[in-house]
């Protein structure tokens, strides 16, 4: 239904959208700016993208970012989907506590999550050292941390996808002679699948984007793209970092549009 909107409201809305997109557009434009210090326009160039890909630390951080994102998404999608199914399927006495536990990683400030994991790893390390073992913060510590904040998002996406479907569908499958496993794979899973995929995409994007938790759990020898951007930004603005940021924005846009396309054909129960 189309309703009248006051012209002032439309102007306001477009101003807010302009505000939201101005920095992103400036960033992309400056990534093509042929000037080392980049405050003024000095002509079009794509050389910063070349400079970017020639940097070994950028390539390494890209590999790290993608590896962590893919592996953590696989783990958290399995764990989160199972939690989401459990939340949907069972009447739980401790539902409030469980919801609280799931909401916690989403609401606690990420700096708190990061530093508590940093100390947890140090604590575990000091325990292991007494047994003669040790480990460095790096891929594994970052991976475990990412799964921790991803699980909730997947679980809640899957649960909200299934909300509205009662247990009747599964019961019907059982009445028609399907085994528990078969009714799960042929009835429940196909229903949950769009939610699972959307949750996985969300988890993947969250992992790609995360700076704070990675910053505290990665140690000195391991870095992801956001951490690399941070350390570079702290040293001063460089055009190749603009190019890197512009590329990351592009990746996000593609992921969001894909997630939107996946979620849209949502049938009304």
């Amino acid at each position: 239904m189309i309703r009248r909107t006051h012209p002032a409201l439309s102007v306001w809305a477009w101003l807010v959208y302009a505000f939201l997109y101005l920095p992103i557009i400036v960033l992309v434009v400056f990534s093509f700016n042929d000037s080392r210090f980049g405050a003024t326009w000095a002509g079009f160039t794509t050389k910063w993208y070349g400079v970017l890909f020639a940097r070994a630390d950028v390539r390494e951080a890209l590999t790290n970012t993608l590896t962590v994102a893919v592996v953590s998404t696989l783990i958290s999608t399995v764990l989160g989907t199972l939690v989401g199914l459990g939340l949907w399927r069972y009447t739980l006495r401790f539902r409030t506590a469980l919801t609280g536990l799931l909401v916690l990683p989403i609401v606690i400030p990420d700096v708190v999550m990061g530093v508590s994991l940093l100390m947890f790893y140090a604590f575990v390390r000091s325990g292991l050292e007494r047994l003669g073992w040790t480990f460095d913060n790096g891929f594994w510590t970052v991976l475990l941390a990412h799964v921790t904040f991803q699980i909730s998002y997947v679980a809640l996406t899957v649960r909200s996808r299934l909300a509205g479907y009662g247990p009747e569908l599964e019961e019907a499958a059982r009445d028609l002679g399907a085994t528990g496993l078969r009714s799960f794979t042929h009835v429940v899973l196909p229903l949950a699948l769009p939610g699972v995929l959307a949750g996985a995409l969300l988890a993947f994007t969250l992992s790609l984007d995360d700076f704070v938790v990675t910053y505290f759990t990665s140690g000195s020898g391991f870095s992801t793209l956001p951490v690399l951007i941070y350390t570079n930004v702290k040293r001063g603005v460089t055009p190749d970092i603009n190019a890197l940021s512009a590329l990351l924005v592009l990746v996000t846009v593609v992921a969001i549009v894909a997630a939107n396309a996946l979620l849209r054909p949502r049938r009304q129960p």
């Binding site: 997109y21 700096v111 940093l118 921790t148 809640l156 924005v249």
Partner: protein, 275 residues
């Protein structure tokens, strides 16, 4: 029925993971907050309340009180509060605008809102350096505020939008038919219906704004340090984990207090809707 076997097949692995990597680390942090710094990023006994005393502005012997931390805490609260207020000012009308479009445009406008929502936070904050630097505004408190509003306004608009979307406009018509002037009609017939989204949006803006260190780190200077920066510093240069732990608990306490008062009002469903 949820049997033990079914628990381990569904809810078990995920909740155990969260217990291991969320709850246990919080307990470790709690323990560390009662220890002292023995060296850079090293902690040791004996058990003491020193770190907690320092959080509240006392020296190690609880003799003198300084206002330094109170100032940082107060700054965190008002910077987060002011940026939340600016988000409300910008975002509340926007939610109405989006909700009143036809389905196609609505979907597009929402997508345009979600893209910055999910674009890397660090990059979005960093982009402001490019814009503000020529005006010599970085680092400054106004740059920090601007960055905060920019970073959090999508977090605010989305929940408000979902409330506006559900508004029963017949109430507005009824109010108008009964002769209420426009402002009064809006305040009595429309505004109350948007309250759940408004409160959720304010929480979703205020909580991350209170905890962030990235915005003030990149766009502000030492003078704009917020509690997040104070925490970050304890795990970086200062290497004072007990003090950083106590500060983290204070921050987490402030956040959970806000959520708890919200959950009491909105109940379980409200808490789930927040996510």
């Amino acid at each position: 029925m949820l049997t033990v076997r079914r628990f381990f097949a569904t809810l078990g692995p995920g909740t155990l993971w969260l217990a291991a990597f969320l709850i246990v680390p919080a307990l470790v942090m709690l323990g560390y907050s009662f220890l002292t710094r023995t060296d850079l990023a090293q902690v040791g006994g004996p058990w003491t309340l020193e770190a907690w005393g320092r959080v509240f502005g006392y020296d190690a012997l609880f003799q003198e009180w300084t206002a330094d931390n109170a100032r940082v805490l107060w700054r965190s609260v008002w910077v987060a509060g002011l940026s939340t207020a600016l988000c409300v000012l910008m975002g509340y009308p926007l939610a109405f605008y989006i909700a009143r479009q036809d389905a196609r445009r609505k979907n597009l406008l929402l997508l345009l809102l979600i893209i910055p929502f999910w674009t890397n936070f660090l990059i979005r904050v960093y982009a402001w350096i490019l814009i503000l630097r020529p005006f010599d505004l970085v680092p400054s408190l106004s740059a920090t505020l601007l960055g905060m509003v920019y970073a959090f306004v999508p977090f605010f608009v989305l929940p408000v939008y979902s409330s506006v979307e559900k508004i029963d406009w017949r109430l507005l018509e009824a109010a108008q038919d009964l002769g209420a002037p426009p402002l009064r009609a809006f305040m009595t017939a429309v505004f109350p219906q948007t309250l759940p989204g408004l409160v959720a949006g304010i929480l979703l803006t205020f909580i991350p704004a209170l905890g962030t260190f990235v915005v003030s780190d990149i766009l502000g200077g030492a003078k704009t340090a917020m509690v997040g920066n104070l925490i970050q510093n304890q795990f970086g240069q200062a290497g004072d984990w007990p003090y950083g732990s106590a500060l983290s608990f204070l921050l987490m306490g402030m956040v959970l207090l806000g959520l708890w008062s919200y959950a009491r009002r909105a109940g379980q469903k409200g808490l789930e809707e927040l996510v």
